[in-house]
Structures are given as C-alpha cells and as structure tokens.
Symmetry: C2
Subunit: 406 residues, 2 copies
C-alpha cells in the first residue's frame, strides 16, 4: 500500500475543476468532480436535525440510487436554513450540471459550505457550472484546484491518495476534505470527497465508508459544533478492472484498509488545521475494558475547552484532563490512571495512579511547545484502545469566529 | 419578598471571615462560615465521576447527618486528584476547625477551588483556620470578605440576600457563590453557600434546594467543563423562630420562592462574570411541548462556541443558533422557528418560520453590542418555556485559561 501525491483525480477516469465564481472575493469558491463512467456511491451525512438543502438532495440519491457521476460544490454560502427556495436552487444547480455534462440531474450530487441562513447566488452558481464543465481535467492540479475551492477558514488544502493491488490489478483511492470550524465528532463532520477506480458494490462501499468514518472523522473535534452540511461521499467507478467486491472477503479488507489510511490521514490534517490551531493534539486512551469506553474518554479530553486552552499555553495542567474524563459519562478508576505527554521534544510521565509524579514542569512545557502533541492515558483495566484528534484553542479561533461574516 | 444588600451573614446567627492565608499571592484565599447554633443542612454536589476530597467529605455529612455548624473554604488549590493524602488533609482541616470552634469534626464542611492535581498547603490552611476562628463577625463586611476569598478567576464578588415572612416571623436568606470557568449546566456547577434563619427540616431543605438548582445553576454554562469541586450547600439555623417547615405547605412554597430568587440572581451573575465575558447572554426557548425539550434547546444554544463567538463579535449570525438547536438532540420543526434578539438597545425579529426576515444588520449589531443580550426562540408547538444563561466567548477566555497556572 503506497501513499502517493494526489487527490480526487488520482484514480483512473476522474476529472475535476476549481474556479473563482464570484461567491467569495478573489478566492476559489466552486468545484466540480466528474467521472467518465457512472460510479457506485457511498455516503454519510450530518446527524444534525437541521440539514442543509444539498445534504437532503444527496441523501436521497445515495439511498434511492446508490450511484452518481458528478458533484458540484461551492464554499461561501451553506444553503442551510433557506427553506423551499434553497431546495429549488438545488434542483436548478443539478439540472444545470446535468445539461452541461450530458447526464440526468439525479446523477449529480451537490455540496455547499459557508454561512448559514443566506440563499446561494444561483446565477453565479449556474455560470460557474457552465465554466467548469468546459475545463474538467484529470491532472493533479485540477484536483488541487477543487480542494482549494471547497476551503472556508481552512489554511491549507487537504488531499491524499494511495495505490494498492486487488487481484493483481492496480487500484487507486484518493480524496479531499475541508473543515476547520463547526467540527465535532458525530458522522463525517465536514465535506469529504473520495474517489477510487476500484470496482465495489454500493453495499460494500457503504459498509467500508461507515466503518472508516467511525475511526477517523468521527474521532476529531475542533469546537464541538456539528455542522448542518456535513457530507462524506465515496465515488467508485470500477475502471481499475478488479473483480467487483461484493462481500466481506480479503479484497474488501484490503480496500477498507486503504480507505482507513486515507480517511485517518485527512482527519488528522483537519484537526491540525482547526480554526486558529497552533498544535495538533492527539489523545490515546488505552487499557479500556470496552472500545466505546475508550472512545468516550478520548473524545471528552479533546473536546474540553480548558484542556485545549492549556495546550495553547503549553501548560501541563493535567487535572483538566482527569476532570474531563470524569464528566464524560464513561466509567474508570481515577486511582489507576497513568498520563503521559509525548512529542518530538520527548516524553514525560505526568501522573501515575491518578496523582502527580512530581514531573519536571520545564520538560513538560518543552514537550507541549511542539506542534504535534500526544497524550497517552492508560486506565489499566483491559486491552481496548481509541485515538481522537483535536487542536489547541487559541486567540485566533475567537478572531476567526467573532468576525466570520465581516 | 424584599431583595436586600447582604450575603451569608444577613440571616440571624451567622458569622463569617475571609483572609489572605498565603495560598495565593496577596489575595484573600480562605473563608470561614459559622452559625451560633447547629444548622439543618441541604447540599448538592458535582456529578463528575472525579470528585475532589472535600466534596466527598461534605457529601458524607449531608447524607449521613443532614446537619453542620461551620464551613471552611479555600481558593487557589482544588484538593482534587490528590489521592489518600488529599483525604487526610480534609480530616486534619476539619479537626483543626472543630478544635478552634468547640465543635466536632463532622460539624465542619470543607470546600476547595483552584488548580487540580496539587496538594493543599496544609500548614497554611491550619494557620488560616486558627486566625479566622478568632475574627468571625456577623457584619456585612465579613460576608463580603468571605465572598471575596472564594473567588478564583471571578472579577466580582457574588452575594445576594432576601427577607420575607413565614407565619408572621421575619426570615432572611442570603448566599454567596463563586465560579467563572469550568462552568457547565449539570448540578450546581461552582461553590455556593446559602444561609437562612428559617426553621426547616433536612428533607424539605434538600427538596427546595434541588428544585431551585435545576432552574438556576443547572441552566448556566461558561465553557462546557464541569468541575470536580462543585458544591452548593444551604445552612438553616432556625433562629427566625418560624414554625418548622416539615411538609410542602404554603410556607414551603414561600421559602422555595425566596430560595429561587437568590439562586437565579447568583446564577445570572456567574454567567455574566464568565471568564473573559463581555456580555451576559440569556436564551429563552418558548412554545415547547415539554419542559425538557425547551431546556435541551436553550442549553445547546448557550453552550455553542460558535454562537458565543458570534455574540462576542456583535454578529447576528443566527444560523449558528438554529444549527446548535439541530444537534441538541431535541426535536423541533425548523420551519416553525421564530428568533428575536433583544437588549436595552431594542428588539429585532431575525427569523420567521426558519428563514431570515431580511432584518437590518445595523440594528441587529446595535442590539448585540449591549452587555446583556436576550435571544427569544419560539418553536410554536406548545406552551412550555425554559431560560438558560451564558456569556460570549472572547480573547480574554483564552488568555485566562492558557496561562491559568503561570
């Protein structure tokens, strides 16, 4: 399994484009993804009761048809809380793309991200669709343009790709994602588009996607706010020529492993690029009796505002970690907890059996001053483990979100 | 029912003190509360699995004895995550106070707040107890000194008192509270000490306290972090001479109303003084079918980091409010939601039936620039209502918490 440079255009038969359509000022704000042949589809969406119009559009297609051939994305406006008008704009956008690409409107997925409560500028959206349909390309740059166009407060593009073999055939899987705020572990909390030339059935693709999202996007948090627009879709066009995956066999496992590699890679990068973040904060809980217990504890720690601000201050205020575990709802014995901080600068055991080890504050501060920090929490009850990813909470988060619409 | 200037020394027979014991630098950090006669006790404590040693000490006394006569508090160190040593220091502190005041150690409650994971400086604590036991006073200033000594990142003292009549007898109820960070609605999330000269049984006092805490301290949030040290206790010494309240009669209702007045007053002030807060943010959800539904929705809105930063930026980014309601877990129909912002500067209907009214952004910004802001959310399904209190999320929250121990 080889990680390669690439993204949504790495797999055979996928083309993309990303342009400035004038929704945002002087920044790319529309993207298109297209496959030469129809794709099997898997998708998972926000569990927020309030769903954006494009989310409702896509859920319907994934559930009823399980296939699609193109996707139109915009950033700047979320098309959420926009009523019947927002739904109508979805129909118009999909029809415009279908006409331009020679498809039916139900072959076209839609995704929006940005301000909630505003209508999308439908004329600019339709003009952008016409422009992009004439410039689709399978070059890496086209994938990067698309990845850039879906960014909102993201500071870096997030793309990844991997190649592997299925029954002697070379298969490629690539993806792009966006998301820096309104990020919370519950479903794939962001926009994520994955493309592969593997041949796989809708059922197996859906199963692989749900399983991988649990351990990747559902294990990150930036601010505890779960978006109205979360969308994670996988397009599989079968052009690799492998024998179609239709059951949980060895090929399925290889495919799932590749998908897990890409989704974890993208998820980690989302956490590291959390709004205002200076550091990626990884929390591993081990020694749990049950996986769910480890997940609950790890998530509570990465979600705590007080833990996140302590990390921002390079302050080993470890009591806040034990405190967050305490209100998580999961059971554990405080008197068994060992806590270690680790980074490029070294490793230090902070607490043993629930009390301070009398560690060196200077060493702890050095370790916490790096831009990738890991906390390892051993609750010494069993052998289950979970890892979650978050980031520090800094002044820039406030600046970004207090003035988001200005 | 008359709100009066006052606090924990307003009711007959209560004395207090607050001093600099040297735990913190040049700031009051220890307080003592004492009643001339034994008190009936009611108390409610953190539901965090990780409980500080003094919380475990107090819970035991409230449950087993239901009475006490004094309380020793310190700020600076929380005595949480301190193992057997922390428990031993509790026993020593209570014994020191009992010896100085002529009581038994089980008549003395303890409360600590501050950094988690450090041992309390037991010698300073014991010296402070001896000093305070010689300077207890029933003057208002003594109550204020105590209220100041329990502050951590609080910027203002929080005291309140009320007088009312029970069967022709004048009764007084007063209280003090602290809390600005690690504040989250779940039990009385902070330290709160209430004193009254009413005669009331332990069962009725406990019932009144639990009911009032639900609608006051459990409806505020600063940062979603629930403390290890939350303590709310009510001392009732009976010196008002009213007929003992032993059942849910008219006197009980008057007493509960007075207690509700004081707990809501103190809770609002805690939210307004949230770490780094520039504005009190009150959210009322009305038109709910069930009270629990209204509570869940109101809490989700005051807890959202994105809503809180929008308030900090005086930005009517109302979609974030609907979004937070959407992930709260409570049911509602997005297409029925009306949202109004109100403050001293006026009132504006932002959304009707789930979509924007095309309101004036300038007026909305003026309204959101005040230091007390109310959002009224009508979900138009029934007649149940709930109100929650929070604050904006500002740069100062980050500054305070990134450098808390420095």
């Amino acid at each position: 399994m080889n990680i390669i440079e690439g993204g949504v255009t790495s797999a055979q038969g996928f083309r993309a484009a990303g342009i400035c359509a004038g929704i945002k000022k002087d920044r790319k704000d529309m993207a298109m993804l297209y496959s030469e042949v129809p794709c099997t589809l898997a998708g998972t969406f926000t569990s927020n009761l309030v769903k954006a119009s494009p989310v409702i559009w896509d859920m319907d297609i994934v559930q009823k048809n399980g296939k699609a051939q193109a996707c139109v994305m915009n950033s700047g406006v979320a098309n959420a809380c926009t009523g019947a008008q927002g739904d109508e704009y979805c129909r118009q956008s999909a029809q415009e793309a279908a006409d331009a690409l020679g498809l039916k409107s139900e072959d076209v997925l839609l995704a929006s991200t940005g301000v909630i409560g505003m209508q999308i500028p439908i004329d600019k959206i339709c003009a952008g669709i016409r422009t992009m349909s004439g410039m689709l390309s399978d070059l890496p740059q086209a994938g990067s343009d698309a990845a850039e166009a879906i960014m909102t407060t993201d500071t870096v593009r997030k793309e990844a790709a991997v190649t592997f073999e299925l029954g002697g055939k070379k298969v490629t899987l690539g993806g792009m994602t966006k998301g820096a705020g309104m990020i919370h572990p519950q479903m794939g909390t962001m926009l994520c588009f994955l493309t592969t030339d593997a041949a796989i059935s809708h059922e197996m693709a859906q199963k692989a996607l749900l399983s991988c999202v649990q351990d990747s996007f559902n294990m990150i948090s930036v601010d505890g706010d779960q978006s109205t627009n979360d969308t994670c879709v996988l397009f599989a066009n079968g052009l690799a020529g492998n024998e179609m995956i239709t059951k949980e066999d060895a090929d399925f496992e290889i495919f799932r492993e590749a998908l897990s590699l890409i989704t974890k890679n993208l998820a980690r990068r989302m956490a590291a690029d959390g709004e205002g973040a200076h550091a990626l904060f990884e929390v591993t809980v081990k020694g749990a009796l049950a996986r769910e217990q480890a997940v609950t504890l790890a998530k509570a720690v990465i979600e705590s505002s007080l833990v996140k601000t302590a990390i921002a201050g390079h302050d080993a205020n470890w009591g806040r970690i034990i405190c967050a575990m305490g209100y998580s709802g999961a059971q554990f014995d405080q008197q068994k907890v060992d806590l270690t901080f680790r980074s490029r600068a070294g490793e230090v055991l902070i607490a043993r059996d629930g009390v301070s080890t009398g560690y060196s504050e200077q060493l702890a501060t050095e370790i916490l001053s790096e831009d990738e920090i890991t906390a390892i929490i051993d609750i010494k009850e069993g052998s289950e483990t979970a890892t979650a990813w978050g980031c520090d909470l800094t002044h820039e988060y406030i600046t970004i979100n207090a003035d988001y619409r200005s």
